[in-house]
Amino acid sequence: MAILEARALNKHFGGLHVTNNVDLALEPGEIHCLIGPNGAGKSTLFRLILGEHSPSSGQILFGGEDITKLKSYRRIRRGMSVKFQVPGIFKALSVRQNLEIAMQHHYPPAALHAEIDRLLDFLKLEGEAKQLAGNLSHGQKQWLEIGMAISLKPRLLLLDEPTAGMSPEETHATGIMIQRLNADGMTVLAVEHDMAFVRQVAQKVTVLHLGQVFAQGSIDEIVADERVAAIYLGHAPEAAHA
């Protein structure tokens, strides 16, 4: 059974059809990348999955359960977690406090700080625990937020351009981090522009174009698909068929 399923999902903003009849299924344990040119509707699809937008029509299932009408925080409590594109951290608070806020209800008080230390090690932020989160480097902010997202021990991790603004080395290290999490059983859905990163981690790739699922397959199949190359260069064929 798919862990996440979108069925005939539609979202209009006025006359603008941003998400157009999208069907998407994520198998448990896979790393699935969502790519597509700017304006393809990737972010909107993400917000629909998270419950920040409600769909005009269609259904979203999580673990077989209909979550279309659930509020965001309830979806999180059922085992979703997200890392935003712009680092969504608590800038005026210390790195440790950022993680404490994420984890305080998931561990007994006695075990909390040992768990935070373990996560700080994993994120290579052990020297920055007392630092204000706003003073971290860009890459460290991204990692801190990934840390907050994974500290909830989600079944499904949503990543919106997790490597935006990172150096190639940081991007690679992030890829390894995501693969380690995936090896522990976490399903990952990532929106990503960096094709090197997609090549590194993706087990399955979905291409969105004009709000529709344009192509789907392994990274090699997608790269070999001339229609995909065409939409990235701006010469989309008239009839888009998945």
């Binding site: 999180i76 997200v82 935003f84 969504g88 951290i89 608590f90 608070l93 806020i101 994420a102 305080q104």
Partner: protein, 353 residues
């Protein structure tokens, strides 16, 4: 001993300045000074200090809602007025016998809190935030002021209590504690002083525990980044509502204490000027910390009173200038900026040694 350490541990944390034995010794010294001070002063000055203290509860409540939670409520005076009038209506009708004034205090604060639950539900569950929250809350306090201002006629009464329009409601009984061998009337100012001081210490310590708890953690998280807080699985509306109701109850406590202190409450206590002043106290002291809010409020209130000798309009202009200067020069607040500067200097010295 262990329980005591744990208790003190809960009073400290990243959300409050001041920690360790040094701070708490200082706290006890100040408290001892506050306890002894009426012995060396006259009744009028002590009464005036009670007047200052009564406002601090409202300031602390605003610090919680605005400084910690990030929602600017411009209408704390609405809860102040509701509780003040409620106390008047209750005690004028039912008198002060059998310790009823104490019941009336609790009821009046509860009425203000209940109103905050109702209002806050629509505000926060309707996802109203930022400047709109300020506009709505300000409108509500102004509407209440206008409404009470037109109740001068004899037809406006609740039981025996005349609302009295702009002349205000007066002659409610002062706080009275039933005591074997004669009730203690908390009107000669010294007794009232000790009760209000005790309440202030209690509320201050309780708020320290609250803001350093997991509730306080979520509250500052909402201030910093509401979307992230929600995406960690928190129903942020509940936390915002919780802080709003606690803050409103504290504003209500201010209103009741003010009313018992002066045996008087008027619509202008909910007016524009009254609504704006708490913002000045809290912003100038340092809204994101309850200690600096407390000190700042007392300092600004004393300065304000000293200035009104030269005319109250003039004093208000100075308050406005003070607010603008604070926002421009020390947006975190003068007391808080000063405290962290001292903390840094000491920290550096310790680091060198």
């Amino acid at each position: 001993m262990n329980a005591l350490t744990r208790f003190f541990g809960r009073l400290e944390g990243p959300q409050t300045i001041g920690r360790g034995p040094g701070f708490w010794i200082g706290f006890l010294v100040v408290l001892a000074g506050a306890c002894l001070y009426p012995q060396f002063s006259d009744g009028y000055t002590v009464g005036n200090t009670v007047y200052f203290f009564t406002w601090v509860f409202m300031a602390l409540g605003l610090s919680l809602i605005w400084g910690y939670g990030g929602s600017l409520s411009f209408g704390q005076t609405a809860f102040f007025g509701i509780a003040g009038y409620s106390y008047g209506i209750l005690t004028i009708n039912f008198g002060a016998a059998y310790g009823f004034t104490l019941v009336a205090v609790v009821l009046a604060v509860a009425i203000a809190a209940l109103f905050a639950v109702l209002l806050g539900y629509f505000l926060f569950f309707g996802r109203i935030s930022g400047v709109f929250l300020g506009i709505v809350t300000l409108s509500i306090t102004l509407v209440l002021e206008r409404f009470m201002a037109q109740t001068a006629g004899p037809e406006w009464h609740i039981g025996k209590a005349r609302l009295n329009g702009f002349n205000g409601m007066s002659n409610m009984p002062p706080l009275t504690i039933p005591w074997p061998g004669g009730d203690i009337v908390l009107f000669p100012d010294v007794q009232l002083y000790y009760v209000v001081l005790a309440l202030l210490v209690l509320v201050y310590l309780a708020l320290r525990i609250l803001v350093n708890s997991s509730f306080g953690n979520v509250l500052v998280a909402i201030r910093e980044n509401p979307e992230r807080a929600e995406m960690l699985g928190y129903d942020i509306r509940k936390y915002q509502l919780g802080a709003f109701v606690i803050g409103a109850a504290l504003a209500g406590l201010s209103g009741v204490l003010y009313t018992t202190w002066g045996q008087y409450i008027t619509p202008s206590s909910m007016g524009m000027t009254a609504a704006a002043l708490p913002i000045v106290w809290v912003a100038v002291g340092g809204r994101s910390d309850i200690t600096s809010t407390l000190i700042g409020t007392l300092v600004v209130l004393s300065a304000f009173q000293a200035l009104t000798i030269h005319g109250s309009q003039y004093a208000l202009v100075v308050m406005g200038v003070l607010l603008v200067l604070t926002v421009l020069i020390a947006p975190r607040g003068l007391i808080l900026s000063g405290a962290s500067l001292i903390g840094r200097l000491f920290g550096k010295r310790r680091g060198d040694a």
